[in-house]
Each structure stands twice: as C-alpha cells, then as structure tokens.
C-alpha cells in the first residue's frame, strides 16, 4: 500500500506552507521492454529500422530542400551525375579500439585502450544504404563532427575514383514541438541532481544531506522554506551508488562482505526516503547503478528501495527518461550517449554535442556501434519523435546550460547536470520560463 506524500508543513505562524504540485505524465513507454524476445538477431535489424524510419522522414523534407535533384541509391550512383543520396554514416577511425587488437601478434607494450578521445585527422566518413557504401569526400563534411549511426541526406556527385564528393548535407533537424505559453503561471521548480555516488570515498555525505534538508524545507527561514515549497519535482539522473568493486573479484562473498556490498544502496534509500516523503522523485539508472548495461536501461528495481518505494511520489524510471510536467516536455539521459559522442567526435562543449543529437533527431547515434544497446528488430526507441522543451544530461564535469532555437520556432533548454559527488552542485529549473541556475553546497569553512 503506497503512502501518500505529505505536503511540506511548516508552522509559519500564519498557517501551513503547502508544496506546489504539478501534473506528471510519464512518456517512458518506448524505453521499457515491451514484447521484445531475443531470437539471436544481430544489430543489422536496428540499423534497418533506423535507416527506414529516418529515410522516410528525410524524403519528406527533400522537396523543400532541393526539389530539382534526383534521388539515387548508393549502387545507382553515376559518375558526374549530381544527385541526392540518403543513408547511414559510418566513420572509419584509425584509433578506434578493436577487439581484434587483443589477438594481434604485434602487441606493443603499451595498453590497448587508453585515449579518451579517438578522433584522428585520418578519419573518413562512408555513407551506407541497403545497396552499398560509398566513401565521402569534400570539405563540407568534417569527420570530427560526425559519428557512425547518423542518417543524413547528401547532395553531391560521384567522382572518377568512386568517391562521393559532398556539396551539401541535410540533417533531420529538430522535430516538431508543441508550443508552450512561456512566462505564464506561477514559479515552479524542478531540481536535477546526478552522480551522487553514495558509497564512494569521494562523496561527502554531508553535502547530500544538506541538499535533502534544503529542498525539503528543513533549512533556512520562512523565505527559504517558501522557495523550497515551490520545488515540484526532483530528478536523479544516474550514478546514485558506487559499489565497492574490490569485493567483486570472483570469490564467494562472506556475510560481512555481503553487507558491505549492499551498504551504499541502503544509505541511498535512507536519503531518498527523506526526499520522497515530501516531493515527487524520479530516479534513473546510470553506468554505475545496479541496472542492465545496454541502453535503454530499465528502471531500478523497487526492492532496492524498501523505504522510498513505499511512497507514491517515488518513481523508478528508465534511462533515457522522458516525461511531461504541466505539459512541459522533458527528455534526458544519465550521460552515456553524450560521453560516447565525446569519445568519437569533437565539439567545443558538451552542450554542442547535445544540440547535435537534437538536430540529428537521434538520442544515441553511436548505439549500437560503440554504445551498448539492445538489438531491437522493429523499432529504434532513440529516435526523437517530439521536440522536448528541456533536454538534460547527467554526470557531466560541470554545470552548463543554454537555450537553442529551431527553424520552426522550437525552443529547447539544454542542461548539463554536474556530478554531485565531485562538485556539490545540483541544477534548478523554473517551469514558468525555462530559466536555469545552479544550486551548490559546500562545507568548506574559511579559517
């Protein structure tokens, strides 16, 4: 039986301070396991589904882009004939680690996988469809910007050498967005936090406790509490626990080690219960959480949270996670998609990677190439159907945010949520105007 969350009650003399409420709607259905059965399929199926889905979309955009050019398949290319081809990009990368290197006879002394970024100036792009593949040339298409798995339309022509010289590129672009009446209504806040890493040696439990006390209204005077009462939702975006991996060395665990292993999750549950008792809480799995490895990660099991799962405010969600709050559409991940892009391409900031995924209309184009994902056969759940109003990514180095605009008037707030265990910083978003600021907790006292 679920306990209903009690509103924040503070005797402020005039009366009780009530927490604001918002209407929540989960959109995680496509990320949850539906009727999938593993029948030994390989990743060709998901690539086909993705190609077909996005090619149909791009074909519908071609008449407005370059209506006078013929559309060809890769095999149907003729030398010198200017045309448009649509297919999946593949980036050949010199430095990309290959499992076969482990079996190579000429193993050097240096370890096999070290660099954090595998981009090299010799990388080149190839376009592939069902009929074949063609190497891409031209100064327009910078290999360092693109990654394997994006579906695009290219205008150009085949050269004598059999390559395709690119003159112009059409990406899917931002999808349609339902317009919001911005700057209307009252201030309501959503708090994002990620990388709690409860159980790790670097996480300071006092910071998290301070955070919990602040948002539940146990800190500060009436004014502070009034602000805290305007928080309607907390989103925990992955990497909430860090298990002592040293214990997992293949040996059977004694009872003492077993309780040591489960300490972090118990500690997390105690803290989350304090939050769930008063505010709606969404928790997403991340890389270090006890969830499946491949995307989409399934919700953390409720048995891990005996305390907090008793509340109806507690929601265990998938990664990626999509939901609507008072009709404001949110979409976010625990960071794996952007981190993988950072390994295989270059950009000025993480926000730029995020913007690219929106413009490519695909959350995780590098899946399944370098990012683990389930081999779907009939759909690609990472395809972005509707443009979110807020797009967030967890477990980043620092807090960053920007507002991007689409060609059809879409407006998206991009948020990079920093790792709380390292930075002590969470992010607060105002639903009324999509403005964003950082919420930092520190325990250093200047002497």
């Amino acid at each position: 039986m679920a306990a209903a969350a009690a509103p924040v009650e503070v005797d402020s003399g005039n009366g009780v301070l009530q927490r604001k409420q918002s209407i929540y709607k989960s959109m995680d259905e496509s990320f949850e396991i539906q009727k999938e059965m593993y029948r030994g399929q390989q990743y060709s199926q998901i690539y086909f589904a993705r190609l077909h889905l996005m090619r149909t979309l791009l074909y519908s955009l071609l008449p407005t882009w370059k209506p006078h050019l013929p559309i060809c398949t890769v095999l149907g290319l003729e030398e010198g004939k200017e045309c448009i081809i649509v297919g999946t990009l593949y980036k050949h990368m010199k430095l990309k680690p290959s499992i076969l290197d482990e079996y190579s006879k000429e193993r050097s002394a240096s370890p096999l996988v070290k660099p954090h970024n595998f981009v090299h100036s010799d990388d080149y792009l190839v376009l592939e469809d069902e009929s074949g593949r063609v190497k891409l040339r031209g100064s327009l298409l910078l290999p360092s910007v693109y990654v394997t798995g994006i579906v695009v339309a290219l205008h150009g022509k085949e050269t004598g050498a059999g390559d395709f010289v690119v003159e112009d590129i059409l990406e899917a672009g931002l999808p349609h967005q339902i317009e919001l009446p911005l700057n209307s209504g009252e201030d309501k806040y959503v708090v994002f936090i990620s990388g709690l890493s409860v159980g790790s040696s670097s996480a300071n439990p006092l910071h998290f406790q301070l955070f919990v006390d602040h948002i539940t209204g146990h800190l500060g005077d009436e004014k502070e509490q009034g602000i805290a009462a305007q928080i309607v939702q907390v989103v925990v975006a992955g990497n909430s626990v860090e298990f002592p991996r040293g214990l997992l060395n293949g040996q059977n665990l004694g009872s003492k080690d077993q309780s040591r292993l489960s300490e972090p999750i118990k500690e997390l549950d105690i803290l989350l219960t304090q939050i769930a008792a008063g505010i709606a809480l969404d928790i997403m799995p991340g890389t270090s959480d006890p969830a499946n490895f491949s995307l989409p990660q399934q919700p953390l099991h409720k048995c891990l949270f005996p305390g907090s799962a008793a509340y109806n405010t507690f929601r265990s969600c998938t990664n990626p996670h999509s939901f609507e709050l008072d009709n404001v559409r949110f979409l976010g991940t625990s960071g794996q998609n952007i981190d993988d892009l950072a390994k295989y391409s270059d950009a000025k900031s993480k926000l730029e990677f995020m913007e690219r995924t929106l413009r490519w209309r695909h959350l995780a184009p590098t899946a399944p190439n370098t990012l683990g994902c389930y081999p779907f056969t009939d759909r690609d759940p990472f395809f972005i159907e509707k443009c979110p109003h807020v797009y967030f990514v967890g477990n980043q180095e620092k807090y960053e945010s920007s507002l991007i605009k689409g060609s059809d008037g879409q407006v998206v707030r991009l948020i990079c949520i920093p790792r709380f265990a390292e930075t002590g910083t969470a992010v607060v978003l105002n639903l009324r105007n999509l403005e964003c600021h950082a919420l930092s907790f520190g325990t250093q006292f200047s002497s």
Binding site: Q42, Q45, F48, H52, S131, P375, T377, D378
Partner: protein, 119 residues
C-alpha cells in the same frame, strides 16, 4: 557414397530405395515475384547433378516465402521470424505482399527464414 551437394552437410535423411536424379525439374519461376533482385535461391552449381538439396518442405509456397526473405527492401531476414518481419515491413509502410501474410498465418509453412539454423 559421398554426395557432393549441400545435403551432405545438413540433414542426413535415409532415402528409401535408390534416389534417381530428377533431371527435368527446373526452378519454377514464381508468378508473384516478391523480389526485385536475384531470384536464385538455388545457385546453378547445386543443381548440376540434377536434383535439389532440401527436398523436404520445399514447394511453391516455400519458394514464395524465400523470395520474401531475400528481398532487400524489407530489411535483413536473419534473427526474426518471417511473420515478425512481415509485420515490421507492414508497419513501416513498405506494402509487403498479402500473399506472404496469408501463407504465414495459414500455418504449415516454415516460420523462420531460410538461413535459420544454417548460418
């Protein structure tokens, strides 16, 4: 006696009596060809001895289904049941042939693609 065709690698089925090469049988051209590419599911080299391998369950219906399997337009066939692949093609708006759906739903045909268990 070692048979020099593919049959040697797969199902070992005892033949009753002496098998005679059926030289007059040619690959029936499917009336409703579901493929736009090659319609050779039985390469010439294998028919050089005059009979096909995989005689069992290989009839007109199976031929139609194999054409459906080989058709590139509906995506890869390996790893999916034929009906799932037909439904996917339908959902993606590719208008797969109704005949294939009818055959698959009626039953008594191989529900998996031609490469199933062979690759």
């Amino acid at each position: 006696m070692a048979s020099s065709d593919m049959k040697g690698f797969f199902r070992q089925k005892k033949k009753l009596g002496i098998s005679k090469p059926k030289s007059s049988k040619r690959s029936p051209k499917p009336k409703h060809s579901a493929s736009c590419g090659s319609h050779l599911v039985q390469p010439p080299a294998l028919v050089s001895h005059g009979f096909f391998d995989l005689q069992d369950e290989y009839d007109d219906k199976e031929e139609v289904l194999r054409q459906f399997d080989m058709n590139m337009a509906y995506g890869p066939c390996l790893g999916m049941s034929r009906l799932d692949r037909w439904e996917r093609a339908n959902a993606l708006g590719l208008h797969p042939p109704k005949e294939v759906e009818n055959l698959l739903r009626a039953g008594k045909v191989n529900s998996e693609c031609l490469w199933d268990g062979r690759v």
